[in-house]
Symmetry: C2
Subunit: 347 residues, 2 copies
DNA sequence: GTGAAAGCGCTAACAT
DNA sequence: ATGTTAGCGCTTTCAC
């Protein structure tokens, strides 16, 4: 069934050591034997056995990515970046995704198992010291994306700045009551976005107004956005503008508005966060974070660390960018139907 | 660094065989030794080494999924189904995704390498006899999703029926000129959808009118839909209704319409295919295929086949479902802005 | 330049 | 119920 180096060795009349040398590009093989071995090998259709190779080499050729709830364009984009980077270096990618945030630790455990992968990318998973200990016990290089901890490399976007940009934009556009739609419990990125938002409001002498969805299992979802917006509408006291802490809730907000016969920006301006695909389509103003780039850079870092484990942990922060589309056009300039919806080619 | 069964054996004063038995739940271990071994094991923080285990057991505990271009909600949903099913059985998922359709074969080769995975799920990859031979040479159980070949299990949606449903719906809704937006080259699913579409048109005595995008690298994309729709608009001879062969192009179509000051269904009705997330949001009428379910069912089949390799190849076809949303509301209820087009022939 | 042999960490007969 | 031992397929000293 499986051709082994023994088969090749026998046919080529050399030892298995020589066959191994040939496949590992050792210089200590004569050209003639090399040719002979290679000939036999692909006559037989030999492919090395990944497990055996891994066991002997003490490395798997695999890296893992642990992702909470895969249902999500943000992770999808990050994952693309990861996949591309990993694949470019000839490694394989093992994907662990949890169904619920609570499952993350069990997925982590599996990903950390010895012999599964050589390193791990951990997405959007807050790392406290307890979890950090668990991770370090795995003795694998680990890189964090959309989360940070001093003991590990991390790749994040400046969420505080993003929150500030969003709020500042709405304030500058002339909106008076600028509210925030966040989630509860509040993960670190949401907290940071809120901080930026609050700073912008304080700067202009206003009072923050925060709504938080406690939707289960996941506050960052369209359903959650829909529900909260519905409640706000029902409350009868609509703010002028809303900053949704993620693009995942924003479509829900828009739907709720639509169902109530309202729209953005006519009745309320809206700015999201992330700039996932649907944002372009929904003409949603938003704060862009370079998802693909972050994934790619994080994976590259992990791969470097695989070669050089002693690299010092580095925190790299990307700058978010305000993308103004239709849902927050300045009240003054808003000729409500103007189509400035370009095709965005992306990184 | 790594705790092995030898360490445990030494500390618990038993042989490695006994330790192994404990971890494999063998009944032939006394309760007292079992307890002792387990005690030592988790005092030492033992975790079995996946590679060594796999090598000895001749199985990896991993299945792979090969996916062309991950940038796509369709695959994302299917992948979720796969991930959930695989995870539920305690296996891990290796994801191979190509950047371009041309890379698929090299990814296949890697996924097929001995010792990488115990089985493979192949998505949206047409399998001809050449490829079938390559796949069979890997001696792994393989299950196809969104593609079919007699030698393998396959999970597909009835694309012909889907195409028929879409066209029939538009015709029944009173639209006269019903065109199709497809891709070129035309993969099997697109061809089947066209077949259904053409049958519906013939049944009602009309002439099919087909537009095909040759957008690179991938015709099933928003950009492709945008471009083709722009050309159709530029042609100045708009059909009454358009059936887009996938939801990935449909948003592009809608954007092109919007940019031209047109809209659906007022100026042209639109029906897509897939029912991905954005379809709900775009209020796009579409043909739903059960993506999550297909992925889950396919993975379940693969896992069954892992236990029972002799299962006969089975082709399971799911029924598509017409989902009527705003973009194809019956013409009677959606007064057109201007009846500027007579009844003329095709592109 | 090539071969012999000792692992890598575990499983699974085969003993006892 | 437990121990001994031979692999699994490959890499890698260490000799020659």
């Amino acid at each position: 069934m499986g051709v082994t180096i023994y088969d090749i060795a026998a046919q080529a009349d050399v030892s298995i050591a020589t066959v191994s040398r040939v496949f590992n590009g050792s210089p200590r093989v004569s050209e003639s034997t090399r040719a002979r071995v290679e000939g036999v090998a692909d006559a037989l259709g030999y492919r090395p056995h990944a497990l055996a190779q891994g066991l002997a080499r003490k490395s798997t050729g695999v890296v893992s990515a642990v992702i909470p709830v895969l249902t999500n364009d943000f992770y999808m984009e990050v994952l693309r970046g990861i996949q591309d980077a990993v694949c470019a270096r000839g490694l394989d990618l093992l994907v662990y995704s949890a169904l619920m945030p609570e499952e993350v630790d069990s997925q982590l455990g599996r990903a950390l198992q010895r012999g599964r992968a050589d390193g791990m990318l951990l997405l959007s998973t807050p790392v406290d010291d307890v979890r950090a200990a668990q991770l370090e016990a795995g003795h694998q290089p680990i890189v964090l994306v959309d989360a940070a901890h001093p003991a590990f490399d991390s790749f994040t976007v400046d969420n505080v700045e993003g929150g500030y940009l969003a709020a500042r934009h709405l304030i500058d556009a002339g909106y008076q009551r600028v509210a925030l739609l966040s989630v509860s419990p509040e993960p670190p990125p949401a907290r940071e976005r809120r901080e930026g938002y609050e700073r912008a409001l304080r700067e202009s002498g206003r009072t923050p107004e925060v709504y938080a969805s406690a939707h289960r299992p996941y506050g960052f979802s369209e359903e959650a956005g829909y529900e909260v917006m519905q409640e706000i509408i029902a409350g009868g006291n609509l703010p002028d503008a809303l900053f949704a802490a993620s693009d995942l809730q924003a479509p829900g907000v828009l739907s709720a508005l639509q169902d109530a016969g309202l729209s953005a920006p006519a009745d309320i301006a809206l700015v999201g966060f992330d700039d996932v695909r649907v944002a372009t389509f929904a003409r949603l103003s938003t704060i862009r974070q370079p998802m693909y780039t972050m994934g790619h850079a994080a994976a590259d870092r992990l791969l470097d660390r695989l070669d050089t484990p002693s690299l010092p942990p580095t925190a790299r922060q990307f700058q978010p960018k305000l993308v103004i589309r239709a849902t927050s056009e300045c009240a003054a300039f808003a000729p409500k139907s103007s189509p400035q919806h370009g095709k965005t080619a992306l990184a």
